[in-house]
Every structure is written in structure tokens, then in C-alpha cells.
């Protein structure tokens, strides 16, 4: 190694601790940005270039760098996201929080029409004094650092492409290069599709919320999203309260989402059918609940009691009730031999108050 390169290495070794500090500040700020945006990302990675790696770089193209300050990837970080638009959301905040060297920052996602390959957003930036300042270490603010933002699929392609062992694209034999480029195109489409699906889910959820708000229950398919929103408007609360009032009991919170499985098993397809069940059987569900607790030392009930009794009445009013009631308890509380006894007890109680 020539003297010039050795001087750069010496400068690197002298500042090694500061580089570690820069890395720490960078990772902390990137994580803060991600948290503020409410995002869930695949990874936030950071590293300080190892001396060996720097030596290799200098041996190849040391003539390009007048000093260590010209090497902008001594400290580097990478954020790998799930979705393409997450890259844009993170970049928007990153541009506000760091001093960006626009001349050297590159959006490598902007490829020409017939180009398929590496895609990533690269920033060269510095830590502003507003983020960190130590008068004894001005190099922390002066050092140029690199931040890469890309999606998981862009990361997969870049990693595999790098793993081929060829140091640059021009070294790759044409037949392999074509294969890699075809894959880059495929992954680009997949990224777009994931974004489309994610946007559609968001749109669907807001549509469902709107339909529930307008009480258009018959138009809403029963699924995890719709049931969660439906439960949020507490459609069974008045029934549960009415049952609880029999004993001046309090209601305790319960995971109502567990009933989705039961309602699906009962072949409810939309929220309108559940609303019909609620209207048709509310009185009988109350009478059953009252019959079960009146005069007993019970002053606390699960908030799910209303829905539970509605399902029981629904089953009692349909064919095969004994077996179906056993299966109901199997679904709700797990399979147990004693569930048949519970089914028999409920049929007896329902007969006592002329529900069946």
C-alpha cells in the first residue's frame, strides 16, 4: 500500500471510536423515524467499514480519494422495508432529520424503460448539530455517512446479485446477467403487487367501517376485519347488561373475537344475518340468562354472555340441537367429553322456560 493510502488508514484508525458513535446515533434516529411513522420494517442494519475492507477499497481505487473525508461509506446503514411506499415515507423524514448531500445521493430506483436491476434509494448525509453535538468531536458532524433504503425484495435481489462473486455488472456473463435481470423485473412486479394488496386492504377496512357506521350490515361479509369493527360498536352490550341486571352483576371484559370461529361454524356469512339473530332471539337469550343466574350467588358475568346466549338460542331453534350444542361448546371452550352434559343441561333449562 502506498503512503497516501496508509495515511487514510491511519486517519480511519484515529477516528474509529467516533465512527462507532456515529453508527449508534444513526441507528437510534432511524429507529425513531420508523416508530414515529408507525411502521414495521424487515431490518435496520448498520456497520462501520472494517479496516480490511477499507484497505481493499484503497488498493483498488485509492487514487480517487484525497482524504478519508472523500470516502462516504465508512459508516453505513440500511433500512429494509416490506412495502415500496414505506421507503418513501422513511425517506421523507430522513431528509428532514439529516443534512443531505444531494449531489452524491442517488435514487437508484429510477431506471430507464428497458432497464431491470439494482433498485435502492441511497443517501449521503451528515448528522446535524441539532441531533448530536460534542465540541470535542466535531468529526461526528463532519463525517459523511451512507443510508440505503430498499424493500425486502429489492434487498433479496441485491444480495443474491452481490453473492454471485462478480464485483461489477460488466463482469457477469451475459446468460446469467439476463437471468438476474429477469428476476429483478419479476420482483419489481411483486413489490408493486404487494403494495396494491396492502392499499386494497386499507381501502376495504375503511369501506367496512363506513358500512358498519351506516348500519348496512347485510352488505358486509363476516370476516376478521368486519367482526372486529362490528364488536367495536358493542351490538350485544345491551343484552349482556340486561342479563347482568337480573343480579345487579357487573360485566367483565372478554375476547369477543373468539366468537368469529363459532359464527363461521354456524354458517353466518354476513353481519346482517348476525343482526337478524340478535333481533329474533334477544328476548329468549335474556330469559335463558335470567333463568340460569337468578337467585344464585353470581354478581359478575363476562361481557360475552349476551352473544353466547344468542348462539345457544339460535342452535336450540334449529335441527340437531343436542349434538350441535356440544359442538358449540367444543368450538368455544375446547373439546371436552363433559360438553355433552352442558348441552343436556341447557336443553333442560330451555324446556323449563318453554323456549323449546
Amino acid at each position: 500500500m502506498d503512503l497516501h493510502c496508509q495515511m487514510i488508514i491511519d486517519e480511519y484508525l484515529e477516528n474509529r471510536e467516533s465512527f462507532d458513535k456515529i453508527k449508534e446515533i444513526l441507528v437510534e434516529e432511524l429507529n425513531k423515524i420508523i416508530k414515529e411513522l408507525g411502521l414495521y420494517v424487515v431490518a435496520v442494519e448498520a456497520r462501520v467499514k472494517e479496516e480490511k475492507s477499507l484497505s481493499g477499497k484503497l488498493e483498488l481505487k485509492g487514487y480517487k480519494y484525497a482524504s478519508l473525508a472523500d470516502i462516504t461509506d465508512i459508516v453505513g446503514a440500511r433500512v429494509v422495508t416490506f412495502y415500496i411506499d414505506d421507503v418513501d415515507r422513511i425517506s421523507a423524514l430522513l431528509e428532514k432529520r439529516f443534512i443531505i448531500d444531494w449531489e452524491n445521493s442517488v435514487d437508484k430506483r429510477k431506471l430507464s424503460n428497458n432497464e431491470f436491476g439494482y433498485m435502492s434509494l441511497h443517501y449521503i448525509c451528515q448528522i446535524p448539530e441539532s441531533l448530536y453535538y460534542d465540541p470535542e468531536h466535531p468529526e461526528i458532524n463532519e463525517t459523511k455517512i451512507e443510508v440505503q433504503l430498499r424493500t425486502a425484495l429489492q434487498h433479496v435481489w441485491a444480495t443474491i446479485n452481490h453473492d454471485t462473486g462478480y464485483k461489477s455488472d460488466i463482469e457477469i456473463p451475459a446468460k446469467f446477467k439476463r437471468g438476474l435481470n429477469r428476476l429483478a423485473g419479476l420482483l419489481e412486479i411483486a413489490d408493486d403487487e404487494f403494495k396494491t394488496i396492502s392499499d386494497s386492504i386499507d381501502m376495504y377496512r375503511s369501506e367496512v367501517a363506513g358500512l358498519i357506521k351506516d348500519s348496512r350490515f347485510e352488505d358486509i361479509e363476516l370476516n376478521g376485519d368486519s367482526f372486529k369493527d362490528y364488536i367495536a360498536i358493542k351490538p350485544f352490550e345491551s343484552l349482556s347488561k340486561k342479563i347482568a341486571d337480573v343480579n345487579h352483576a357487573e360485566l367483565t371484559e372478554s375476547n369477543m373475537q373468539r366468537f368469529l370461529n363459532v359464527l363461521k361454524w354456524l354458517e353466518f356469512e354476513n353481519l346482517g344475518q348476525i343482526e337478524d339473530m340478535r333481533k329474533d332471539y334477544e328476548e329468549d337469550a335474556y330469559r335463558l340468562g335470567k333463568h340460569q343466574i337468578v337467585g344464585r350467588d353470581i354478581d359478575i358475568l363476562s361481557e360475552s354472555i349476551g352473544l353466547q346466549n344468542l348462539c345457544i338460542i339460535y342452535i336450540l331453534k334449529h335441527e340437531g340441537r343436542e349434538q350441535k350444542l356440544k359442538q358449540f361448546f367444543d368450538k368455544l371452550n375446547g373439546e371436552k367429553p363433559r360438553n355433552i352434559k352442558s348441552a343436556e343441561r341447557i336443553i333442560k333449562e330451555a324446556k323449563e322456560i318453554n323456549i323449546i
Binding site: 372478554s254 375476547n255 340468562g289 350467588d297 359478575i300 363476562s302 354472555i305 371452550n333 375446547g334 352442558s342
Partner: protein, 98 residues
């Protein structure tokens, strides 16, 4: 009510015998408060428990909330009378009953 405790590392089994009601529930509550620290698996064995009232349900509910943060609570061998209470109160789907 009789309370027997068996602890093995982070596993704790509590055997209850008698009636868990307004009179005895505070006793169980106090016992549990002193032993739950560091427990990851709590088994409440009701083989010899004859009866449970709302006061007992409240202790179970409070214990379930504590155990949810640090591990799990399972209720075993509940008799038909107790199971009926769990079912008609809707507690059967709040508690983990084996």
C-alpha cells in the same frame, strides 16, 4: 377451604379443597399474591373444590390477568357444579379450563 401449594421452579400447582366463596376468597387472594412472583405456569387444581361463588370468580379473574403477563394459568379437574358456573357466567371462554 384448604389450600395446598406445590412449587417446582417456575411451575406452581395450587390444590383447593372445600368452598371458594365470599368467606374464603380473600384467603386465596392473599396466598396467591405472595407466591406468583416469577411463576410462569400456574395450575389451579379443583379436584376437591366443591363450590365457587362470584368472589371466587373475581380472584380467578385477577390471577388470570397477572399470569397473562408472566405466563399462563390453567384450571384443571373442575366438577360439574363449578363448570356450570363457568359456563353460565361466560367465564368458560375467559379462563383456560382443561
Amino acid at each position: 377451604m384448604e389450600i395446598k401449594k406445590q412449587k417446582e421452579g417456575t411451575n406452581l400447582t395450587i390444590n383447593l379443597a372445600g368452598r371458594l366463596d365470599t368467606t374464603t376468597a380473600p384467603q386465596l387472594d392473599n396466598e396467591l399474591k405472595s407466591v406468583l412472583d416469577g411463576i410462569q405456569n400456574l395450575v389451579m387444581d379443583f379436584e376437591e373444590l366443591e363450590y365457587i361463588s362470584s368472589a371466587g370468580l373475581r380472584v380467578l379473574l385477577g390471577t388470570e390477568k397477572v399470569m397473562k403477563k408472566q405466563g399462563q394459568m390453567v384450571i384443571r379437574n373442575a366438577n360439574d357444579t363449578i363448570m356450570e358456573v363457568f359456563e353460565i357466567t361466560g367465564f368458560a371462554d375467559i379462563l383456560t379450563i382443561e
